[in-house]
Subunit: 448 residues, 4 copies
Amino acid sequence: MDGSGADGLFAGVFARGAAAAEVDGRAWLQGMLDFEAALARASERAGAGLPDGAAEAIAAECRAERFDAARIGREAAASGNPAVPMVRALTERLPEPAAAYVHLGATSQDAIDTAAMLVARRALGPILADLAGAAVACAGHAAAYRDSVAPGRTLLQQALPVTFGLKVAGWLCGLDEARRALAGVRERVPAVQLGGAVGTLASLGDDGLAVAADMAAQLGLAEPAMPWHTNRTRPATLACALGVTAGALAKVARDVTLLAQTEVAEAAEGGAGGGSSTMPHKRNPVAAVATLACTGRVPALVATMLAAMAHEHERAAGAWHSEWETLSELLRLVGSAAAWLRECVEELRPDPARMEANLAITDGLSMAESVTTRLVPALGRLGAHDVVEEACRRAVEEGRALRDVLRDTPAVTEQLDADEIDAALAPEHYLGVTGTLIDRALAAHAEV
Amino acid sequence: MDGSGADGLFAGVFARGAAAAEVDGRAWLQGMLDFEAALARASERAGAGLPDGAAEAIAAECRAERFDAARIGREAAASGNPAVPMVRALTERLPEPAAAYVHLGATSQDAIDTAAMLVARRALGPILADLAGAAVACAGHAAAYRDSVAPGRTLLQQALPVTFGLKVAGWLCGLDEARRALAGVRERVPAVQLGGAVGTLASLGDDGLAVAADMAAQLGLAEPAMPWHTNRTRPATLACALGVTAGALAKVARDVTLLAQTEVAEAAEGGAGGGSSTMPHKRNPVAAVATLACTGRVPALVATMLAAMAHEHERAAGAWHSEWETLSELLRLVGSAAAWLRECVEELRPDPARMEANLAITDGLSMAESVTTRLVPALGRLGAHDVVEEACRRAVEEGRALRDVLRDTPAVTEQLDADEIDAALAPEHYLGVTGTLIDRALAAHAEV
Amino acid sequence: MDGSGADGLFAGVFARGAAAAEVDGRAWLQGMLDFEAALARASERAGAGLPDGAAEAIAAECRAERFDAARIGREAAASGNPAVPMVRALTERLPEPAAAYVHLGATSQDAIDTAAMLVARRALGPILADLAGAAVACAGHAAAYRDSVAPGRTLLQQALPVTFGLKVAGWLCGLDEARRALAGVRERVPAVQLGGAVGTLASLGDDGLAVAADMAAQLGLAEPAMPWHTNRTRPATLACALGVTAGALAKVARDVTLLAQTEVAEAAEGGAGGGSSTMPHKRNPVAAVATLACTGRVPALVATMLAAMAHEHERAAGAWHSEWETLSELLRLVGSAAAWLRECVEELRPDPARMEANLAITDGLSMAESVTTRLVPALGRLGAHDVVEEACRRAVEEGRALRDVLRDTPAVTEQLDADEIDAALAPEHYLGVTGTLIDRALAAHAEV
Amino acid sequence: MDGSGADGLFAGVFARGAAAAEVDGRAWLQGMLDFEAALARASERAGAGLPDGAAEAIAAECRAERFDAARIGREAAASGNPAVPMVRALTERLPEPAAAYVHLGATSQDAIDTAAMLVARRALGPILADLAGAAVACAGHAAAYRDSVAPGRTLLQQALPVTFGLKVAGWLCGLDEARRALAGVRERVPAVQLGGAVGTLASLGDDGLAVAADMAAQLGLAEPAMPWHTNRTRPATLACALGVTAGALAKVARDVTLLAQTEVAEAAEGGAGGGSSTMPHKRNPVAAVATLACTGRVPALVATMLAAMAHEHERAAGAWHSEWETLSELLRLVGSAAAWLRECVEELRPDPARMEANLAITDGLSMAESVTTRLVPALGRLGAHDVVEEACRRAVEEGRALRDVLRDTPAVTEQLDADEIDAALAPEHYLGVTGTLIDRALAAHAEV
């Protein structure tokens, strides 16, 4: 039980997938220790005067499992950050002379900022994997249901037909755009931070930049032009990419909850969960709901990261600190959402028959535009529109199918025979460039 | 280590004070178990057919320490909430026939919503205590430094004089208004939730309302007019009161960080923390910084709670879930901020001599309005203004004290002698109703 | 066309109702002028030395329509706030000696903060009226459809039956709680602000508090214990009450969009809007959609107001300014949402027949719990549960109505005859305390 | 006066610079009309059956100044968006047959989404120009004050020395990173939207994609793989880039307000504004304050855009609408902040003498680490640390300069002579790689 909260109890919903383990206290502690190990080795190589073996002695001790994270957390209160007690604990574990060279030339913020970048980069691995899995599943559905006509809905009202494949291709584009951006951020943004107390690297003399470059190489992080201790574009950019990803995930999950409604029933989650022994007719879309539970918390956390960018002078009086758990939460929640959504779409069971049945609810009215289009060449745009509008009005008033009314309408039958009326009312004949759009989405997906 | 995150490592900053222990997984679990115990007892009393002794058998088992919160958390994934595995675990610990009467007539949301209210009410206890402590300390400073003149600053520029007591009285008013509102919310808002699956209490027949009333009495919660499962004004109102409290705390902490600046040095934190062995001149205002670290994260979390209010139909598909950890975070962060700020103001060491010295920086210019005011009766408002403005201009240009320039200015000396000029330039003579305002703030404080 | 934005073009959606006119530039300007008029009169009465007639001369000129708000807005850039050019413009319109007594003893923030309170109080009038209208309409529906059975839905899946009246009673409780809180805030929170440059009222000598009290009385505002220029609980509390109100409105609108879905069709908006000549089958729930458009923007604006509370020293360097338009937006958006939602519910056309039809979709499965409840006395809780679960499983597998399966199941027929089975499956017999809850909501409504 | 708000009155602060004119109602209207003109031309070229001259007749009429934006705004209420009355107004202005071909195949969202992209791209022009101007000014200061020593401050306490050039180089990096990202987003993200009612382009038959491609080329927008009506990564990505930019601007402005404090006085804004006739000693940093006023409102608006991404099905019921004004506000506020900050840094007047004077406040204590570093070779790290710590302690206790204590301390004087002690205490000798870092920042700047 940690000092915080209810997370453990709610981990089933909010800590799904493998990213959660990369953002916990141990992971942050390991990130700080990785910083210290890299610093010691780089300092030795830069000729900063470490005794023989000191760097390796330090590095060998930099393993999170040897430390008491909770104690370090408690002791963080005295200085306001956990790097101070971490350095103390590491130093205490080492013999002289190595002990004297721990954290050489660095400041607390160096260790914590670098740890944040390592935590983020590591957590993004499983997040991107789950996003890729979700995208692959969407691509499969988009191809499989390329021609399955379904109601398109605007403002939650049936409008014109689409295919289920097109709907999923839209999901796919969103997911692919988000994960491509997130992968780019992962490559480009995480950078080592080494600046010393005020960003001058003063206590390292002329060696500072060489040490920083060496550390960047060791840790697989970018080497920034300058220490970025008070230039927070990096954590903010990470947060934003996670925010956009959450939005793309939420779009899919929202649609699944709507499709899974008892009255719509065009798709159901096929996983083991969600059944209810007391309500046997329910198939709760648990994965979609959990995705929305996670993603609903993300936008505000992005705002916190952005609001925290105005760091005062050479170290912020609070704004910096407020990034730590917020970034962790963002990674955990987006990671959990990605894991849930992947399960959701991998197990999704679309019901094309039900889609067709739902399309029939309006008795042809949703195809009115299709009929109009066919009458334009003969009647002109306004003429065609007026004829069809009147027919629709009669269909609604008289409670008849539009087809029957059209067959009764001379202005129509003079232009279209019964088969042509049927064709005009067939959803599969009024899909525009649906197929091509799906192909384009799949082609774009193949390139991600 | 729980599934979530870095909280343990950062607990020193973000889980200060006693509220944190009231919002962790154990606390939520105990809240749900308290719900189950109260439900069993109330059902028995309502004549819902429980066998003799079943209610007490259930209640006796409702102790969080007997359960594995982490396991319940993991199992929550299947159904999307921890109430389902909690009920299962409780049932498994009980013999028949009592086991069959666990959770009778209730739904998961009933248990979790009621637990949320219990968690909130319990956590608000130490939060209000720390707020009261902070207010008491402020009242002490306001009285002690009632007449200690200090620079008043607008847009971070010295403007006219205030007293340090007045500044602190302003803090006091904010804290008192916030905690009065928060205490009112604590009294009024937390309510029992019992509605069954869709809020009709159907499986309890006619007994539902009696059971709910009995539970409210047992748990010390309000009895709502209706189940509030999809009417989220209660959690939203709690969140808002916490948000306003965070803002009142942040105001004080921001001022302390500004006062503690090396170049201002009008107050320092007196606690043990904050000293630096490598930078002996620094006295980091750790408590104020930690307060800002906590409060900076609060506004966005309030937004999450407000955005989650649009619950769909009889149970939300995600919005409800997103409240759980968010409410916990709000309580934890505001609790931590209140504990930090209390320490900050209790240990605050104002330096009245430095305040006076800082007032002297502008060589009298900050008292120009005071001189003008004394000249108005003779010269009229515009005339007085013009004379003083010209004197100020000369003082700046010639690098002289305003006093010296005024003594050289016939239009002034014709009205005011040297003593009167000195008096006009004395900050303590241009404080308006400062003393009365402090008295009013203290009187209001005495009534909270 | 003002300097800002696209508001005019989008006013149809986001500036519905009468509140919008109370928050525009003219309204703010009038608020500042009302401050100046009240200040002049109060100063005269306090004996602050105004020449005879000066106060009335000033007050007579304080009419927004005589000023060029756009020019004042542009000139605000020089000082960073519009009070400076407003005072200048007012002064220019006045002859001496009255001109010299404009804004006597006040600072820009006094005028703007007081104007903000006047704007808020005035805008809350129509907002509360529209909320009341919406609540009255809900009360009407709750009574009219008290017994109209409808599907209750959890996670967007049909669960157990409710009545449409119960659903609307839930809306009503949320609206009533929000508007009662908002009305209380309107009574209690808006206060006059008068402090002078740093809150000491120095240039008014001993008269400051008398002037402030007189102004409060003139303007119908509360008189605070102290100037609240850097204690922002008042604007923050206003924002929060608006935020909770938005959430209560959004809940109703969300439900209406879901009920109005083509496949659900349990309610439609009856207003003139929303029809589509090209899609005659659509009845877009425009009012509900517009409500959601407005309310979706509110939570973040509340966060901005809360984040702006940490004002530095005696006047904030930016945070204060960021409140102005944000508070206006909050009032405008919540006002627009209240106007839209009132129209939505006033014109709402529920379709009880469709509700019953939708309840039948699950062929009795949604009533399983009701059957179980009837079997408990004879079979015990676990026995009853197992029998019904097996019957449900068979019904799903064999594609039969639950009724038919139950009639085939000896364990059932030994306890219940055909009529009793029918009764158990009748939604109207499994509504628990629905009627009583509606009555309680209506009774609470009558007291608001 | 438009329907919205107080914007005009506050335009001086919040609508600075040229971006504001690109996001107002007229600009949005022109964006929609540009869409219609491009659609007509592209349709004609694609052979969609437009009569000769119809496309040009339509295009010729597509000028915003011919339309009544306020009326269109009002009429938008009926359908919930301004595209419907815009199309009607455009159609009414045209003779037949051209009138019949307005908006052919398009839906309201196509026009509004495309307009949003045009508005964003156009507004980003002046925003990027002001950001570039600010960066150029920073580069100038970074070079000019490369060697001007100044206090580095952590948690608002003096720590070790920096140079003013280094501080500004940090600002420069943040601005350059933000504007590079924003410029990239401007190139890549704005895309044409054309999908018809549900994204199938059904009424354009096979011509849809050719029309969309032609429109993209005409409008200078990207051509997306699919219509993006419910894939909101584009507007969200725009919002995020603006959010990060706001944070980079806020960092600079925050530092300027702190540097400009009366007691710090290391820099002042040199513009005309900010002087006060009643407080002649004040030089309000109006531009920095206004920057913070604008940027403080941005994070929450980004959150609104991210929260709005979960569009339902083929058109969102509210979330889409909530983007319109929010995106406008983001562009307006970031544009205003960029214009203000550019003025702020272009006119900034640093005071190197004051920086040196402030460095002297701690009587050498802030240079303790420098002394330690020089003693390490002889005394070892721990030995050196202990000696200096003791000297610092004595300096504080005895109220002496550290220099004097060091000269009295044998453990020091045995290693360092008086000149070496002086050198160790000279800030300019303990700047680490400051110069190189500035050079790197300037080199990176030259490449943007």
